[in-house]
Amino acid sequence: MLTKRIIPCLDIKNGRVVKGIQFQNHRDMGEPAALARYYSDEGADELVFYDITASPEARDIDFTWVSRVAKEISIPFSIAGGIRTVEMAKQAFDTGADKISVNTPAQEDPSLIDALARAFGSQAVVVGIDLKGNDLYSNTGAPSKTQRSDRTPLSWVDEVVSRGAGELVINSMAMDGMKNGYDLDTLNRVSCAVNVPIIASGGAGECEHFRELFEKTNVSAALAASAFHSKAIAIPKLKAYLKNFNIPVRIST
């Protein structure tokens, strides 16, 4: 049986892992490859690295830490933030990333999704979608540049899937870092609208939030950051807890 994935998200700023609340007040959490190794050993199913400064500052990704991560772990990981061209995505794959995730650049030029899917296959193309209330946002990495889009969330979700996105990260901005649980209503609406895997993001604080998410929605994966980084939730304990509720998780034999 296909298991539900538990995905720690590591926000990267200047080559270091950081964590803030609602994209602000970042604290240093450590070195990417060391944390990648730690989470891989803990039983994380996949990792996401968000270069949170890249998109708003129009900077390129520094790929040296990507190649260190790729040498350190043998579970899949994706890179998000600042990938604006097929060439940059190719660099990410060449250094060892398994997927790339695009958000603001795809909103600015949706044909980027088609080009990425053609070049690397849909399974390697993730689209990140930041939602608050009934609105879609861009440039969420930099609060001063964050913008509400004129598109509606569901029309955008439809469009990115038809253009070739193989997976979506649905991030509820209002829930991010608040540890009050995932935004189940929004996640249900999105996961009913499309048939690609959905990764839920924003709001995890307790094991129960993951159970609720997997029992009440059809999402494929749960992403969390501070809940794991602060050690409030240990992944082995989380997976044992979910297994007790008959939620399929990978506990290696």
């Binding site: 298991t3 043998s74 899949p76 895997p197 994966a221 990978r250 290696s252």
Partner: protein, 190 residues
């Protein structure tokens, strides 16, 4: 020396990282003489079947693979290309193993993405464990299947073997310890 076929279809870096971690020397190449000098061959691949076959043909690697007698392991798209044809881009494939590559029904969440349980069939000596998959197309269980996997209610081939050719639909290089054990099993095989 392990030859990793580099034909411009996808992520060879994670495969070569896995070989390094297992202490194996490798060469990444599309040159026939170089590949001829290797003891074992790894054939990775992600992306679309049509483009991948075109690239193999362009490099004269299609016939080289068909005639290869070395221990050979296809991974993911490299698994699918060993069959007769794929309904992805309606592609004629290498035809080394009988069978067709077909698409998951649209009622399923696709790609089939994530960790799924793989069970060995018959006397195949791999450990049953979770492996990482990322694919839209699959091959039915057939006489060459030596490990299988179930997605929703559909059983499909996870590992096939015919003569010197092995192939895995999952990504052993991305499947943690289970994947390392699988690669070691192949690499230890003469």
């Amino acid at each position: 020396m392990i030859g990793v076929i580099d034909y411009g279809a996808g992520n060879t870096r994670s495969v070569t990282n896995a070989l390094t971690n297992l202490g194996n020397a490798f060469v990444l190449s599309r040159d026939i003489e170089t590949l001829d000098s290797c003891d074992k061959i790894l054939f990775p691949g992600v992306g679309a079947a049509g483009a991948a076959m075109a690239s193999l043909e362009q490099n004269n690697l299609d016939n080289w693979i068909r005639n290869c007698t070395k221990p050979f392991l296809g991974i993911c798209l490299g698994f699918q290309l060993l069959f007769e044809n794929s309904c992805e881009n309606d592609t004629e494939c290498l035809g080394i193993i009988p069978g067709s590559v077909v698409k998951f029904r649209p009622t399923k969440i696709t790609p089939h993405m994530g960790w799924n349980f793989v069970e060995a069939a018959g006397a195949f000596e791999m450990h049953n464990d979770y492996f990482y998959f990322a694919h839209d197309y699959f091959v039915d269980v057939n006489e060459h299947s030596c490990a299988t996997c179930i997605y929703d209610d559909e059983s499909f081939s996870a590992v096939v073997r015919k003569d010197n050719f092995w192939a895995a639909q999952f990504h052993p290089e991305k499947s943690g310890k289970a994947g390392q054990d699988f690669l070691s099993l192949f690499l230890g095989h003469e």
